[in-house]
């Protein structure tokens, strides 16, 4: 099978609003994610980033606004249909299927693109058999090797360390034949070394697969280093967007989100409190 990666898609969000009861999680949010780019979505806690992801992947229905994918309006589509279109994501709180092995979790990603029906499945015959074997081969060759998870492929995901679980989530998303990859805090809870690994994989996906990537992340070191474009949300609204360097310098962003961004300054502050005490 060994298909070429699917062409990257361009995502555009127009005037999206979402509220829960009285709480306005998103207000008139518009931004675009260019095909083949890495775009970061950042903002304070509770700003609405995960909610945005949920709208894009079809889990939440926004009250207003449109989501365009390569110019096509996908707002009305259900989540599984969007998955088939090429929306693939990972989750802020890891959502692997604990009853399955790593390999099966990854295979699951391909679900929407397979065709076998229940009868063929019961008989393991025809399309079902062909598809499964081809899928296995492709996953082995293109995903498992790529993400360096050979050694764990038959392990149940539950017993894996956190960092590897995140990697398996990425693998599953890649198996979805993504045209846009939505990563929700891919390096949260990782130390420097593991963050480096993940950053490398993300860059490689972009370079080798050419997939569009939209990422939520609080690790500013990584965000600023690897993203091409940064969108900043605050209280459900876009307060800034642009190149990483531009955003980093934006005083509103610094005030609402970034802070000093410098451990040395933090230490100083702490020592001041100490002296004050």
């Amino acid at each position: 099978m060994n298909e070429a990666p699917r062409e990257a898609g361009r995502l555009e969000v127009q005037g999206l609003s979402l509220s829960f009861g009285g709480l306005k999680a998103l207000r008139d949010v518009s931004f675009a994610v260019e095909a083949g780019s890495i775009t970061a979505l950042i903002g304070p806690n509770g700003a609405g980033k995960t909610s945005m992801f949920n709208c894009i992947s079809g889990f939440y229905r926004p009250q207003q606004g449109r989501i365009l994918f390569d110019g096509e309006n996908v707002t009305a589509r259900h989540a599984p249909a969007r998955a088939k279109l090429g929306f693939a994501r990972t989750f802020q709180n890891i959502a692997l299927f604990r009853g399955m092995t790593v390999l099966d979790n990854i295979k699951l990603g391909r679900h929407a693109h397979m065709k076998s029906n229940a009868l063929q499945a019961l008989a393991y015959w025809g399309a079902a058999r062909r598809e499964e074997i081809a899928l296995r081969e492709e996953i082995e060759k293109r995903i498992i090797d790529f993400l360096e998870i050979n050694h764990i492929r038959h392990m149940p995901v539950g017993s894996l360390p956190y960092g590897l679980q995140k990697r398996v989530e990425l693998a599953r998303a890649l198996a979805m034949k993504p045209r846009i990859l939505l990563l929700d805090e891919p390096v949260a809870g990782m130390n420097r070394e593991e963050t480096e690994d993940m950053a490398r994989f993300i860059l490689d996906v972009k370079e080798e697969w050419g997939t569009t990537i939209l990422m939520v992340e609080h690790d500013m070191g990584m965000v600023m280093d690897i993203s091409d474009h940064v969108v900043v949300l605050n209280f459900g609204q876009v307060i800034a967007q642009g190149l990483p360097s531009e955003v980093q310098a934006d005083p509103r962003v610094v005030e609402a989100y970034l802070g000093s961004g410098d451990p040395a300054a933090l230490m100083k502050r702490i020592n001041e409190t100490q002296e004050a005490a």
């Binding site: 995960t50 992801f53 949920n54 889990f59 989750f91 802020q92 709180n93 959502a95």
Partner: protein
């Protein structure tokens, strides 16, 4: 009052009365669920056991009712404590269905033990309630049903108040949500578990005495618990108010269906209501919606 209206009123009142009995039993489910997230199907058998314990005390040892009743209720509580300690606590952290099935198994064990101890013959409890008929105007109310109503009218509001104003209510619900986190907040998790099971089972045993007084006792009387379970599902598994209102609604509907459609329609109507209620409110009328987030 016209004859037809009188009849309707009597039927409705009788329905509300048996609804009250359902409510009390439902309460046993709710208490345990609230603290441990376990649907304890063995409530049915504890109920049966309550009836038998009363029987043993009152008929076997010839104790007066005012001693036999507390004894049976305490007995139910003790069984609850033993069960909780012995099999429920080791199941901490297992899936809801597993624990549910444990209680199903327990129920089976209790039925078997009751059969071994008391045999399978149906029995009649010694009379301990007043037998004077109650007439509200022209409207007749069976005295036993009236007592069930009175008990429900005391017990259910008591628990409502308890959960509203007592800090322990928070502890109960916290424990249900996340035991490790509850521990780490200094909540005595095993204590909460035991407490919920003791009170829940004692309540069930009490309901068993009332039920036994009305319909006699037998090892199979626990099926009544299934009706109470329907009540809990309609009312919401974790809602005391739901148990009360669900019980009354189901009691009323059953009575009306049984009277105007025929006895064979009682169960289908109840279960029909159950399905409709769930389609409209998947977590019961007053149950807490499970949080589903990505």
């Amino acid at each position: 009052m016209s004859d037809e209206l009188l009849f309707f009123t009597e039927v409705s009142l009788a329905g509300l009365g048996s609804g009250a009995l359902l409510s009390i039993t439902a309460l046993a489910f709710v208490l345990i669920y609230k603290a441990t997230r376990v649907i304890n199907l063995a409530v049915s058998e504890i109920l049966m056991l309550g009836g038998y314990l009363f029987f043993a005390a009152a008929a076997g040892f010839g104790l007066p009712a005012w001693i036999a009743i507390p004894l049976a209720i305490i007995g139910g509580g003790i069984v609850g404590a033993i069960v909780e300690r012995g099999v429920i606590r080791p199941m901490l952290g297992e899936s809801a269905i597993s624990v549910f099935m444990v209680t199903v198994g327990l129920g089976s064990v209790l039925v078997g033990l009751a059969e071994l101890t008391w045999g399978t013959d149906p029995r009649t409890l010694p009379e301990f309630m007043s037998n004077t008929p109650i007439f509200l105007g022209d409207v007749y109310l069976s005295p036993k049903i009236a007592i069930a109503m009175a008990v429900a009218a005391v017990v259910v509001p008591l628990f409502l108040l308890l959960f509203r104003f007592w800090r322990g209510g928070v502890a109960l619900r916290a424990t249900a949500t996340d035991q490790a986190a509850a521990y780490s907040c200094g909540i005595n998790v095993p204590g909460v578990f035991s407490l919920a099971w003791i009170i829940g089972c004692a309540t069930a045993a009490g309901a068993g005495i009332l039920l036994g007084a009305i319909g006699g006792i037998s090892p199979a009387m626990g099926v009544f618990g299934l009706s109470a379970l329907v009540v809990v599902i309609v009312g919401g598994l974790d809602s005391v108010a739901g148990a009360l209102i669900g019980g009354l609604v189901i009691g009323l509907v059953e009575a009306l269906a049984g009277t105007y459609l025929g006895g064979e329609f009682k169960m289908v109507t109840t279960f029909g209501i159950l399905i409709v209620a769930l389609m409209i409110r998947p977590y019961g009328l007053f149950g807490t919606t499970e949080i589903e987030r990505l």
